[in-house]
């Protein structure tokens, strides 16, 4: 299964992926309209460490995911290998945030948890973080 991976060696910490992600999942066709003056809730985030360390983190789509096992609402499930959150079912208890060892799940704008779903549900076709990465630091591939 194709997943999103980060090649830390090439991650510049520009944070463009976060904005591309927020835009891709906004359902709005213009980035300015979608993001201007708003707090963004990207499903990928950049960790900026010391000594110029940067790396993007998004859902690993684990084979045996802690979030799925822990969700108190049964709102997280695996479909064809893709871990998905039913945001309708989610009550925002954030147990998934508590258990994800990657820190890849976070609350969205309405309090429900959200995470990378590989841009399969939006109009991008391919993960927006990958297509927009200026340095091929985020890739979408089979490993």
């Amino acid at each position: 299964m194709k997943r999103v991976y980060v090649n830390e060696q090439w991650c510049l910490g520009c944070h463009l992926c976060e904005y591309n992600c927020a835009f891709a999942n906004s359902g709005i066709d213009d980035m300015v309209k979608a993001l201007k003056g708003k707090d963004i809730f990207p499903r990928v985030h950049i960790e900026d460490g010391e000594d110029g360390i940067h790396f993007a983190v998004s859902c690993r789509h684990c084979k045996d995911p802690m979030c799925v096992k822990s969700c108190i609402a049964g709102a997280i499930s695996i479909e064809d290998g893709v871990v998905k959150i039913d945001r309708d079912k989610c009550v925002g208890c954030l147990t998934c945030v508590l258990v994800c060892p990657y820190g890849a799940v976070a609350p969205g704008p309405n309090g429900a948890a959200q995470k990378c779903e590989l841009c399969l549900q939006n109009s991008c076709g391919a993960p927006a973080c990958v297509t927009g990465c200026p340095n091929n630091a985020i890739v979408y591939e089979e490993r």
Partner: protein
């Protein structure tokens, strides 16, 4: 072909069914459910009252879960267990044979013998969907509510009904709210948020006597109420196990493969007393993720697979009125406590010997799971990395190489 019987129809039971089916798609599975409901998530009952979910969405698994997994669901109560002949007897005298049995009986509310409690008409527990539905009927915009117990259940109940009643008072013998998961500093932050939303507290004080619409407190105070919710605590439901020669302490004792001390009997969930790696001993960890994982582990092992679940730690994610709280691990008194006030919240890390033993985050809980995994994996760090960790949960504490492994492969 085996006959699997699961007693209970909660999270642990679902874990058990999914565990069995991951290894055995053929044999029969029978689930005995005391509650006449499709499997639902108990922690959601407060969200139900709050209007954040509904009966349909509360279903823990989809409508077709039982049929898809070829599970026979029997509504009824198991009253007898014969572990020699491997039979279960239901209240309606129906007898069921099992090859492998999993006890997922959960817990039930513990009600202390308060004097005069029988005089109170409008009194409720807050454990099951039926409890919630009954309570809902009694709700009234003007009602004064007294909740006995400022733990997770009592406070979630308070949040759930806050907009639907006149006033809420919560009392607890402990000197702080959420005493099982928060230290006093963190509890104070949480209590403040609850008070901001109109909930008043009587802490370090408890009811000693009830009258029809009044509680008399230990301090002598009197609290009038229209509705009384009893959320003092829960007890593992171990009655069936006691009929066998299963070892039972506060819960049914299980090993790290979820087996009880009796052949062919497994236990999982709130009724079980499994290994808690944070203290290195067995204890009841009545939390939902734990129930699922124990259930699943039991299921796999019942079906002849091999699964070990030995890294359970206490952990909780809970929020009140938008203020979130994440906690995990243990809180050694002889270690370092690193505290930081962060935008409307607080972060307290319990560190000892280069290890994160436990933490409490209130407010910003983002990436708390990184802390939880460090607690769970008992990772030891040098001082420099610990310093990084104190600022926020980060994967930057790992080496480039281990990060490459963590993030670069299929996990």
């Amino acid at each position: 072909m085996s006959e699997y019987v699961i007693i209970g129809n909660g999270t642990a039971a679902v874990g058990c069914i999914e565990g069995i089916r991951s290894a055995d798609s053929e044999s029969s599975i029978t689930v005995i459910s005391a509650e006449e409901h499709h499997v639902y998530s108990r922690p959601l009952i407060s969200y139900y009252l709050e209007g954040k979910t509904d009966l349909e969405k509360m279903k823990y698994r989809p409508e077709d879960f039982y049929t898809k997994n070829n599970v026979k669901l029997i509504y009824g109560k198991a009253v007898k267990c014969d572990s020699k002949k491997q039979f279960i007897t239901l209240a309606d005298k129906q007898k069921l044979h099992y090859d492998k049995l999993c006890l997922c009986t959960g817990s039930s509310p513990f009600v202390p013998p308060f004097e005069g409690l029988d005089k109170v008409k409008n009194k409720f527990s807050f454990m099951t969907l039926d409890d919630a539905l009954a309570l809902e009927k009694a709700l009234d915009k003007k009602a004064k509510v007294l909740i006995v117990g400022a733990g997770l259940i009592g406070l979630k109940c308070a949040e759930g009904i806050a907009e639907r009643v006149g006033s809420i008072t919560v009392c607890d013998l402990a000197d702080r709210v959420l005493s099982s998961i928060l230290d006093s500093k963190c509890a104070a932050v949480m209590q403040k948020r609850l008070e901001e939303h109109g909930i008043s507290f009587l802490l370090g004080d408890t009811a000693v006597r009830f009258e029809k619409d009044k509680a008399v407190m230990k301090s002598g105070k009197e609290v009038r109420f229209d509705i009384l919710v009893l959320a003092v605590g829960v007890r593992a439901e171990t009655e069936l196990a006691r009929q066998t020669d299963c070892e039972v302490n506060r819960g049914i004792v299980i090993d790290t493969s979820m087996k009880t001390s009796t052949d062919s009997i497994y236990a999982a969930g709130d009724c079980a007393e499994g290994y808690d790696s944070s203290i290195g001993a067995n204890r009841v960890l009545a939390i939902l993720p734990n129930a699922y994982m124990q259930g699943r582990c039991a299921g796999i092992n019942m079906a002849g697979g091999s699964s070990v679940f030995d890294d359970a730690v206490p952990m909780n994610s809970i929020g009140f009125f938008g203020l979130h709280c994440a906690t995990a691990g243990s809180y050694p008194e002889d270690g370092e406590v690193c505290e930081e006030q962060v935008c409307g919240g607080i972060r307290r890390l319990y560190i000892k010997d280069g290890r994160l033993y436990g933490y409490m985050l209130i407010g910003d809980v983002n990436r708390a799971g990184i802390y939880t995994s460090l607690v769970r994996e008992q990772t030891v760090f040098n001082e420099e990395d610990i310093d990084k960790l104190k600022k926020f949960p980060t994967l930057a504490i790992f080496s480039y190489e281990s990060r490459r492994k963590k993030l670069g492969g299929v996990v």
